[in-house]
Amino acid sequence: MPIIEVRELTKYYRVHRKREGLGASFRGLFRREYTEVQAVKGINLTVEAGEFVAFLGPNGAGKTTTLKLLSGVINPTGGTATVMGYVPWERRNEYRRRFALVMGQKNQLWWDLPAQESYRLHQQIYGIPDDRFRHTLDELTDLLDVTKLLGQPVRELSLGERMKMELIAALLHSPEVLFLDEPTIGLDVIAQHTIQQFLRHYQQERGTTILLTSHYMKDVAALCQRVVIVAGGLVQYDGSLAGIVDQFSGKKIVTLQFAVGVRPDDLARHGTVLETQWPRVKLGITRADVPRVLAETLRDYAIEDVSVEDPPLEEVIADLFHQVS
């Protein structure tokens, strides 16, 4: 049985449309104009226990809204969802004991206190027995190498250190389902890498089901076998990372390195010339044409080196986002 099931989930917001200027603002006091924002337009999703799924999508695609719906923070406009058999927005304590949400842009730890005080509070709220609490906390702080920072007020920590502390806070009660909303946002490469490593190992050891949203393709490539692309409030793609390129890009990138002095000027007839740095030329070529183009160019010109690659994933996805929006 799937651990997360989402059917036709929608969330619409009514927002007050503000017009520019003082006069318009004054009129707005008496007559308000509203527009409907369709943040989530009908998402369908099934996740099995132990999966690590990435949500990709441009800003405003509905990723965070979906995570908030699944955490029961907001109520949906329509559709159904169950997580571990619970309807999230009923906000039952039994459900809330078994999952966690981490938001990279918000912090839940007490700003002026050392993180360990917030952890103790979590222990009381979740009713975690002393020995288990200490055991879990020791492991997590050890893994993330933050044991020494436990006694330092949170406001004095760096962004990366704080994010680690937030992660620990979310994991103290050993959730079975974990929602991560951009956990590496704003972090430097090293901190990003540490958190990726940690998440991967944690997930492998515990079998926790994780839904992750991120803007960093590296996070996704390092962690998730399955990618769900959300754009315009709908699921546009659901499958493996490699499959994205197959499905959405009909092109290959062919790089030709010509012999010294060879400078053909009719390359555009094979495809798009992406880059010219003699003796190297990059061509974007329709997949089906690649063998023919290679055969012809190799026959016609003196060529020293050839490579054929998929277009970079980020570009494919950027193109895809662009098309949808």
Binding site: V73, L101, W110, R120, D142, L144, D181, Q197
Partner: protein, 315 residues
């Protein structure tokens, strides 16, 4: 950092913990266990707030001094008033000693509300506006409880101590005065804290209702102001509204927004301005109990309704 990455390999030590076991124990916790959990959370809040207050020591001391100074000015003002009159109104029984006992009650209730609920209600509006409420909604504990007790402003309790002082002086003066000395009965001593508690509960409910409206209003910075306007009516003996113009106010603030019973009921019980007590005083006390229950129930209903409309903020 290298050590950090390597330490990730220790993860194999992450023993697959008995998740199922701990679920079993939390499935249907007994009422007593739940009560103890809530009590522990409350104590942790109190403790964390104290740690925080002590971190900002100067702020804490300054806050104590300024609020005690404000009290002293009030006391001075009323001492001055009683140099021109011996009683508030005619035959109301609110002489100087009785009135200062009333004032002490105002101070008890206000300091309790300020210490326990004011910072939380104010933060609640802020949590709604910024979307910080998200985290409170994730916790497996009653959201209203979590929001209401998160922070305790210990410095506000300095006014409680001042209230004790005022009450002590006026009780002593009442007991030792040559003309009709008053000794509160045992019953009064029992009922007084009970009705002070009712008063605090009513004030808390009004505050939560005001704070919950920020869900619909988007922002509610006038919360403090509105609170001040309303509660100002509670700070004087209700007899002063007993005029043709004041009676509608008396009705409104007794029956609809019952701020008048908040201080009046406990203060009358201890100060006993009317001797013997009048029948309507007992009716008023009974109403205070009913009003407390209604207010708390209403605030809870409104709070839950507001959570349904909560939209969170962009992250």
């Amino acid at each position: 950092m290298g050590a950090e990455l390597m330490s990730v390999n220790n993860l194999s030590s992450l023993s697959s913990q008995p998740v199922a076991e701990h679920r079993g124990e939390s499935e249907s916790p007994s009422r007593l266990a739940e009560f103890r959990r809530y009590l522990r959370v409350f104590l942790t809040f109190a403790r964390n707030s104290l740690i925080r207050d002590m971190t900002f020591r100067a702020d804490f001391i300054f806050h104590c001094i300024s609020s005690v100074a404000w009290t002293a000015m009030n006391v001075g003002f009323y001492v001055l008033v009683f140099r021109f009159t011996s009683m508030i109104g005619q035959d109301t029984g609110w002489g100087r000693d009785e009135f200062f006992l009333f004032l002490a009650t105002v101070w008890f209730i206000n300091s309790l509300v300020q210490a326990f609920f004011m910072p939380n209600a104010n933060e609640f509006s802020e949590l709604i506006r910024t979307g910080g409420l998200d985290f409170a909604l994730l916790k497996p504990i009653d959201t209203q409880f979590l929001i209401s007790f998160r922070r305790i402003e210990w410095s506000a309790m300095s006014n409680f101590v001042v209230g004790l002082l005022i009450a002590g002086v006026s009780l002593h003066s009442m007991a030792t005065r040559p003309e009709s000395p008053v000794f509160p009965s045992l019953m009064s001593w029992i009922l007084y804290p009970f009705f002070v508690g009712c008063g605090v509960a009513i004030m808390y409910s009004i505050m939560i209702c005001l704070a919950a409206t920020s869900v619909w209003l988007g922002r509610n910075q006038s919360l403090y102001d509105f609170w001040f306007y309303i509660t100002n009516f509670s700070r004087y003996p209700m007899e002063i509204y007993d005029t043709p113009l004041g009676r509608p106010l008396l009705g409104l603030f007794t029956l609809v927004i019952p701020v008048l019973v908040v201080v009046n009921v406990p203060a009358r019980i201890l100060a006993k301005p009317l001797n013997p007590r009048a029948d309507w005083e007992w009716l008023l006390a009974a109403w205070a109990v009913i009003a407390t229950v209604l207010c708390v129930a209403f605030s809870r209903w409104l709070f839950r309704l507001s959570l349904k409309s909560y939209r969170s903020a962009s992250s």
